[in-house]
């Protein structure tokens, strides 16, 4: 009976992931169908260095005043996202978890457990902070809650394998929601960072030798 449940819910997860992937592809198609604004001005700095900086050192906590000042929010976000990535790793490895080495399971437990805690912490932080509360929509709370539940269930699966069917159902729900809610920032992040590096690298403001 339990094996049947796992089989059924696993397929529900696969279908959910497929729907989510289609939604993401549709979002990608939408942005790629828009014109790319060419920059005709002569470059002052290296575009390549600017883009490289945007995706590497530019994300370090000490590089921006905003993250230096709000290090708690920054690290909450970092651990939350690491937890989410770990949860996806658990998901894709779920049919073979029994064969995984013990130390790896412990690493996954730490990441998903911490990720879930830091994820849920985002809800009160968003509510308590006046600025964040004013900016927030129901989607903001739902998205972080859904992702935190998914991450918590990944942790749960590593502790109690019987939670696997629930984890698969949560996966389906999350995957289907990704293209519709704020979680879709995972798609636009790469575009935004690339354009940031492109613009400010070209102008010689970021990522250049002797430039911050």
């Amino acid at each position: 009976m339990a094996a049947n449940w796992i089989w059924i819910t696993r397929w529900i997860a696969v279908i959910g992931l497929a729907i989510g992937a289609l939604g993401i592809i549709s979002r990608l198609q939408a942005i790629l169908s828009r014109p790319f604004k060419q920059d005709l001005a002569r470059p002052r700095g290296s575009i390549r260095r600017g883009v490289l900086y945007a995706f590497t050192l530019g994300m370090a906590p000490w590089e921006k005043e905003s993250t230096r000042l709000h290090w708690l929010a920054y690290f909450r976000g970092i651990f939350f996202h690491l937890g989410v990535f770990a949860a996806f790793a658990v998901l894709f490895a779920s049919p073979w978890l029994a064969a995984a080495p013990g130390w790896l399971l412990w690493v996954a437990r730490i990441f998903t457990g911490a990720g879930a805690v830091f994820g849920v912490a985002g809800i009160p932080m968003r509510w308590i902070g006046e600025n964040e509360r004013n900016l927030s929509t129901p989607d903001d709370y739902f998205a972080v809650l859904l992702t935190s539940i998914f991450t918590a269930l990944a942790f749960g699966v590593l502790v109690e394998a019987a939670l696997l069917p629930i984890f698969y159902l949560a996966t389906a729900l999350l995957a289907i929601y990704i293209p519709f809610g704020k979680i879709r920032h995972c798609v636009y992040f790469f575009f935004s960072k690339f354009f940031f590096g492109l613009t400010f690298g070209r102008r010689g403001v970021i990522g250049q030798p002797d430039a911050s």
Binding site: A30, I31, L32, R34, P35, F36, K37, Q38, D39, L40, A41, R42, R44, G45, A54, M59, K64, E65, S66, T67, L69, H70, A73, Y74, G77, G129, E130, N131, E132, N134, L135, S136, T137, P138, D139, D140, F180, G181, K182, R184, H185, V187, Y188, F189, F191, S192, K193, F195, F196, G197, T199, F200, R203, G204, V205, I206, Q208, D210, A211, S212
Partner: protein, 446 residues
């Protein structure tokens, strides 16, 4: 209509036709870059402290993401499937009278498009682009604040934004030429006008012609000392382009193309922009994109050129002429939005005895509050001066007696800040300090 009740005029009333026009502007401007900027924000609010409005008056409406969110709400309502189906869930909103008022206050009233929030955003959201799009939409439906609208219109009609006649322009140049000859006792000094095939064409901010002619004299002294092959054009000489601030690409294009034509007619190699932050940004970084073609000539800032003259030994400076402590205010459109960060420091290290940085500086410098066309929008003057408190505190902490800068809007705003916050400092253009320190060739026996 707005918080300060200044926009009660009929032209600020939204109609169905205006709604359609504004949305059409948004539709047409939706490129990949803008789409990404509208979609990627996670509303973390980390951008708050990067804005001088917020630092001076920390309220949610002053958070950059909050301002951008006003346009995002409209975008979601009309361009996103979920925003159309469940607007309340994702915070989508109709473009109605209330939203237009919010957009005016957010885009024109409390944002200088300085880009400090962009540099500080963990996601790289280009809020400048969002705000300029909101301004473009409002300008398309004739809801630009009066002063900014008039500045653009005067430029389009008269060829410069203060309506200076060619006669007055030429007379001022001749007068400054005489003054400089008298100052240096050198009758060979020239301010060349419409000289064909000169290497460099220089531009002015009309304020220099009308109120600060001594800055023309300073520039002429530097060019003459460097032995530059330079000229000025009577066809088009205004360095400014307030189309950048109104978001009106058509006006921006027209203004930029007038200057382009003048440089091409003279056959110059280099267009040198006066010490005017947005003028530099407009011509150096935006104009070719507005026009859809690359310039056959190079565009550079007078700040870059002065640094080059010093580096190449074409001008020599005596820093002891400027013994007072000097700090430098980086104009946002030159530093953060244009990469000119090292050059002013190089200049000041040669031109003054005691240079001290304000903190933060360079790409992280705070906007003084005079950007974004704010000085032309008197409706928002009170907030502008209040936001200038951040800059006043920065200046005060340096202990400087002189604040140097290289932008006219900054110069005016810094002077207002000086008076309002009772700072015992003098505000000066970089070229003034350089011109004063020049070792004139005759004095050095050359």
């Amino acid at each position: 209509m707005t918080d300060n009740g200044k926009f009660t005029d009929e032209r600020f009333q939204l109609t169905d036709e205006k709604t359609a026009i504004a949305l059409d502007v948004l539709r047409k401007r939706l490129n990949r870059q803008l789409d990404a900027a509208l979609e990627v924000c996670v509303r973390c609010g980390l951008c708050a402290d990067s804005c001088h409005y917020y630092v001076a008056n920390p309220k949610p409406e002053h958070v950059p993401a909050f301002r951008a969110e006003q346009l995002r709400k409209v975008y979601r309502r009309y361009f996103d499937p979920i925003g159309k189906l469940a607007p309340g869930w994702v915070g989508a909103a109709e473009l109605d009278q209330e939203m237009v008022e919010k957009l005016i206050n957010a885009a024109f009233g409390t944002c200088t498009m300085c880009g400090r929030c962009v540099i500080n955003c963990p996601m790289g959201v280009d809020t400048r682009q969002i705000i300029r799009t909101a301004r473009a939409m409002l300008t398309a439906i004739d809801m630009t604040p009066e002063g900014l609208k008039a500045t653009v219109n005067v430029h389009l009609e008269a060829g410069n934004n203060m309506g200076v006649s060619e006669e007055d322009f030429v007379e001022t140049l001749e007068w400054m030429e005489e003054e400089l000859r008298a100052e240096l006792g050198d009758a060979s000094i020239k301010i060349p006008i419409n000289k064909p095939h000169a290497r460099v064409v220089y531009t002015f901010n009309p304020r220099e012609v009308k109120y600060f002619p001594y800055l023309i004299q300073a520039a002429a002294k530097i060019f003459n000392a460097a032995g530059e092959d330079w000229t000025l054009s009577t066809e088009s000489w205004d360095a400014t382009n307030y189309g950048l601030f109104s978001g009106d690409d058509e006006a921006s294009r027209k203004i930029a193309s007038n200057l382009e034509a003048a440089i091409n007619h003279l056959g110059a190699d280099v267009l040198v922009m006066a010490e005017c932050g947005h003028g530099y940004r407009s011509q150096r970084w935006e104009a070719e994109n507005w026009l859809g073609r690359a310039y056959p000539f190079k565009v550079m800032s007078f700040v870059e050129l002065q640094a080059q003259y010093i580096r190449d030994g074409r001008i020599r400076l005596d820093a002891s002429v400027n013994p007072k402590r000097v700090t430098y205010h980086d104009p946002c459109n030159q530093a953060r939005n244009g990469g000119i960060i090292d050059e002013p420091r190089y200049i000041l290290k040669h031109a003054v005895m005691d240079f001290v940085e304000m903190e933060p500086h360079g790409a992280e410098n705070f906007c003084c509050g005079g950007g974004g066309g704010m000085l032309s929008m008197t409706e928002f003057a009170k907030d502008r001066i209040a936001a200038g408190k951040v800059k006043a505190d920065q200046i005060l902490a340096t202990g400087a007696e002189i604040v140097a800068t290289s932008c006219h809007n900054c110069l005016d705003q810094l002077d207002e800040i000086r008076r309002h916050y009772k700072l015992k400092v003098k505000i000066q253009n970089l070229s003034e300090l350089v011109a004063a320190a020049i070792i004139w060739p005759r004095q050095s026996g050359e």
